[in-house]
């Protein structure tokens, strides 16, 4: 088949794409232009709008405005099926195979030709995969490869790979990069999303950078273009005139026992040898790009998931949590980003705050309402919760809801608080109140572990921060050095930025490029 030579020589051109969810602007005038035979990187910090753009291009989300042109023809895509017929196929971050169907039926669903699929499976070294096994029974890495082989077998004009390599062991990552690289110069194109700069450097021709929902630049990928990409992602860092919570320099921790100590924590294919301490009076930041294992880390510390290795110490005593109640009992409490998972939405502010200390099933008898009221009132006052609509928590604003989730732990006297992106989707004023509150808690002797997707929060709230990349702690940054640029470089694991402990840097780099030394631990996962 010959390609149209005249009108446009672009394979895919998307212009003026915008999308808002309620008051949240996910994309405002984003654009993407992909040439035939090109592997094109789509880059951006957390929340820049990469995933939304991919979902729009493949019809999973409808844009509010914008034009999508494939091979010179304008397309409106209303569903993934339509996008597929138009030549756009995406492999999403989480597998899109139906868990209860066998592979053969999954292929039928997407009208995938069998022989090319087998060919690609063989290319990835999975030739002996039993096509009659149910997707549910296969390991995650195999599912991702099947997803990719299925997409390749359809021979789309534009293949979109969203964090394709995130769940793959080193040997398969290498193979995927090789195959994607081989598509360069053909008559098809690839849009490649990855948090790993080394992968971008090794397979991509050009990179489009998104920031806050806008396309801010297109960069030719060459040696040293990483710095340029990071600069574009950061933009001009304007001085934020946010009043900083007053603080004294943290007293020295020498000889002091950490409140929470984590040693060599591991979880299959997600976390490797994670160690750190959090001391009383300290806010420790956790910085990571999406999906680097921070979710799992917090789940383990909060008692809702069991690690596969390593130890956790609370006040010097080894603990093993089987249930969140175990963590709460030793004073380790969790505040998540998703308020809906933490609150009883149809109950009052009072009940929500009181639940953790009235809900002990072991304690029988009547609830001491006077005592409850005193404690709750104190917490409401302290957090400045606007409780006018307090009869049903769901009527409160997101910021006030988040304050209620924090208040329930503050009311009981907090010792160790795990905060997972607590300010996500919250207005700026409430954010500041939460920053001040976290500082106050630390001042009063609590230990706080704070994961945040907003890098500037680190300097506002934290005493120091650890950076996680690919399931490993790759850097530790003091507050003084923790500006956005340094943190973002560290989060992308670029050596030129923050000073890294050398052995960590080396091992993580090997992992990212598929070096042989880490292969042995990870190969287990595939065969499991």
């Amino acid at each position: 088949m010959t390609i149209a030579t005249a009108t446009t020589d672009l394979m895919l051109e998307a212009t003026g794409i915008s999308k808002t969810y309620g008051a949240v602007v996910a994309l405002k005038s984003a654009s993407l232009a992909v040439r035939p035979g090109e592997v094109h990187a789509l880059m951006g910090a957390n929340g820049a709008g990469k995933s939304t753009l991919v979902k729009i291009l493949t019809g999973a989300v409808h844009p509010d405005a914008g034009r999508i042109v494939v091979r010179g023809r304008e397309r409106t895509v209303h569903s993934p099926a339509e996008a597929r017929r138009g030549g756009l196929v995406s492999v999403y971050q989480d597998p899109s195979l139906i868990p209860d169907l066998d592979i053969r039926a999954n292929l039928r669903l997407t009208e995938t030709p069998l022989e090319p699929f087998r060919h690609w499976l063989a290319e990835f070294g999975l030739a002996d995969l039993d096509l009659s096994s149910r997707a549910r029974r296969l390991p995650l890495a195999s599912l991702r490869i099947i997803d990719l082989a299925r997409a390749l077998a359809i021979e789309p004009d534009v293949l979109m790979l969203d964090e394709m390599t995130a769940a793959l062991p080193a040997n398969l990552t290498e193979r995927v990069l090789e195959i994607v690289g081989n598509m360069r110069g053909g008559d098809r194109s690839v849009v490649f999303i990855s948090h790993r700069m080394s992968e971008i450097g090794s397979v991509c021709d050009r990179a489009t950078v998104l920031r806050e929902g806008e396309t801010v630049g297109v960069v030719d990928v060459t040696a040293g273009s990483e710095e340029r990409i990071v600069d574009l992602m950061l933009g001009q860092i304007v001085d934020q005139a946010i009043p900083q919570a007053k603080r004294e320099e943290r007293r020295t921790t020498n000889g002091e026992r950490p409140r929470l100590a984590v040693q060599g924590l591991g979880l299959d294919a997600k976390l490797y040898d994670v160690s750190f301490d959090v001391h009383p009076g300290e806010v420790l930041g956790v910085v990571a790009l999406e999906g680097q294992g921070q979710d799992e880390l917090f789940e383990i510390l909060a008692g809702s998931r069991r690690p596969s290795g390593g130890q956790i110490f609370v006040d010097g005593t080894g603990v093993s949590f089987h249930h969140p109640a175990d963590a709460i009992r030793v004073g380790v409490v969790y505040v998540g980003a998703d308020r809906a998972q933490a609150l009883l939405m149809q109950r009052s502010v009072r009940e929500n705050i009181a639940v953790p200390f009235t809900a002990h099933l072991g304690r029988w008898g009547l609830i001491d309402l006077t005592r409850e009221r005193r404690i709750v009132d104190e917490a409401v006052r302290r957090l400045q919760i606007d409780a006018r609509a307090g009869n049903e928590v769901r009527r409160l604003s997101g910021g006030n809801q988040q304050k209620v989730t924090i208040a329930r732990w503050v009311a009981g006297g907090v010792r160790t608080m795990l905060c997972f992106d607590p300010t996500r989707g919250i207005d700026i004023r409430t954010k500041q109140q939460i920053y001040v509150l976290l500082r106050e808690l630390a001042e009063a002797g609590a230990a706080v572990l704070l994961y945040t997707s907003e890098l500037k929060e680190v300097q506002l709230v934290c005493d120091r921060a650890i950076v996680i990349f690919g399931g490993r702690v790759v850097a530790e940054v003091d507050r003084a050095d923790a500006d956005e640029a340094t943190l973002l470089r560290a989060a992308y694991h670029l050596q030129s930025g923050a000073a890294l402990p050398e052995q960590l840097a080396a091992s993580a780099a090997e992992m990212a490029t598929g070096g042989p030394t880490t292969g042995t631990t990870e190969e287990r996962v595939v065969s499991a």
């Binding site: 999403y92 868990p99 169907l101 039926a105 039928r108 669903l109 063989a122 030739a127 002996d128 096509l131």
Partner: protein, 329 residues
């Protein structure tokens, strides 16, 4: 990279794989054989005649259960099946009364279309209002039940003789009830092509994981409406088999809605959707009917008989989930 041909499996291998994936159905079959043996020991003269009676008595619930299984596989539930059977049954009995065979045949076709329409209404309401399936079909249960009473306030009407003859007596051999043949033929004609079509695969996909199904290109809304419509078709067949076996139409819904849910679960279909088939639920219906027959024969107080049925149902499900979790380890 040469193993392309290695998966062209020998029949025995495929049979083993089939057995592995249908252990639940095979287990139920074993339970059924044990129950038949038990029945034979307590009623030594249980024979061809008993089997014929069994065939006739399971028919309405068996079709209702197939209807329920299809909806549950697609991730929904249909609580309106009981009154859908009542409505289609009275419509058929009322129209057939005093009419010839040809007109009776037309009535059957019309009633089947009515069933498809009722099911499609269920599905369209579920999809367009986004009200949970359980609420929508509970509401339509009352609507169909009211309509049935409007058509005929008291039991009555008549069935075409040929329709009645389909429900009782043997064919070819005295051990082959006609009712069972009708059941197998109707289910096979609709279900086997369906399960092999893209629509059938879509039922499983939507029930298993809606997001993944959407990303795989399945039209979620249309698939759900289709599942309810086909369930409506089987609901109408169940209503017709009521008319065929009793010879009249009864406007008051029988206990079929909850019994069909019980049979579907016992038959290995996950209420969470996406898993199971229709063979297991049909065997489950026979098992439930045999248990009922035996408790009646043994002269057990009907109230105790209900308790026994419930205990057996729960016991089998507990055993099943224990075995399942063992296998997953």
């Amino acid at each position: 990279m040469t193993a392309l041909a290695a998966t062209n499996a020998r029949p025995t291998v495929e049979l083993a794989a089939w057995a592995r994936r249908n252990t639940w159905t095979l287990g139920l079959l074993l339970l059924l054989v044990l129950l038949l043996a038990f029945t034979k020991t307590i009623q030594p003269n249980y024979g061809a005649f008993g089997i014929q009676g069994l065939g006739t008595s399971i028919m309405p619930l068996a079709f209702a259960t197939v209807a329920q299984a299809i909806v549950v596989i697609a991730g929904g539930i249909d609580l309106s099946i009981g009154s859908m059977m009542a409505l289609t049954s009275v419509v058929a009995a009322t129209l057939m009364q005093g009419q010839g065979d040809a007109f009776g045949l037309a009535v059957v076709a019309g009633v089947l279309l009515l069933g498809i329409l009722l099911g499609a209404i269920n599905g369209a309401l579920v999809v367009s209002t986004r009200v949970p399936d359980i609420i929508v079909t509970l509401a339509t249960f009352y609507v169909w039940a009211g309509l049935a009473l409007l058509v005929r306030a008291a039991p009555g009407g008549a069935a075409s003789p040929w329709l009645m003859s389909l429900a009782s007596g043997p064919l070819f051999s005295e051990w082959l009830p006609k009712a069972a043949i009708v059941l197998v033929v109707v289910v096979a004609v609709v279900w086997i092509p369906l399960a092999r079509s893209r629509l059938g695969v879509s039922f499983y996909a939507v029930g298993s994981d809606q997001l993944a199904a959407f990303r795989s290109g399945v039209a979620i809304g249309r698939t759900k409406v289709a599942a309810y419509a086909i369930a409506g078709l089987f609901g109408a067949v169940a209503g017709l088999s009521l008319t065929a076996s009793t010879g009249i139409g009864t406007p008051v819904p029988g206990p079929y809605t909850l019994q069909s849910v019980a049979a579907v679960v016992l038959g290995g279909v996950s209420l969470a959707g996406g898993r199971g088939g229709v063979l297991g639920p049909i065997i489950a219906v026979i098992v439930l009917q045999l248990i009922q027959n035996d408790t009646t024969f043994l002269g057990i107080d009907p109230n105790y008989a209900l308790v026994i049925q419930g205990v057996i149902l729960v016991g089998v499900l507990i055993l099943g989930s224990i075995l399942e979790s063992r296998r997953a380890d």
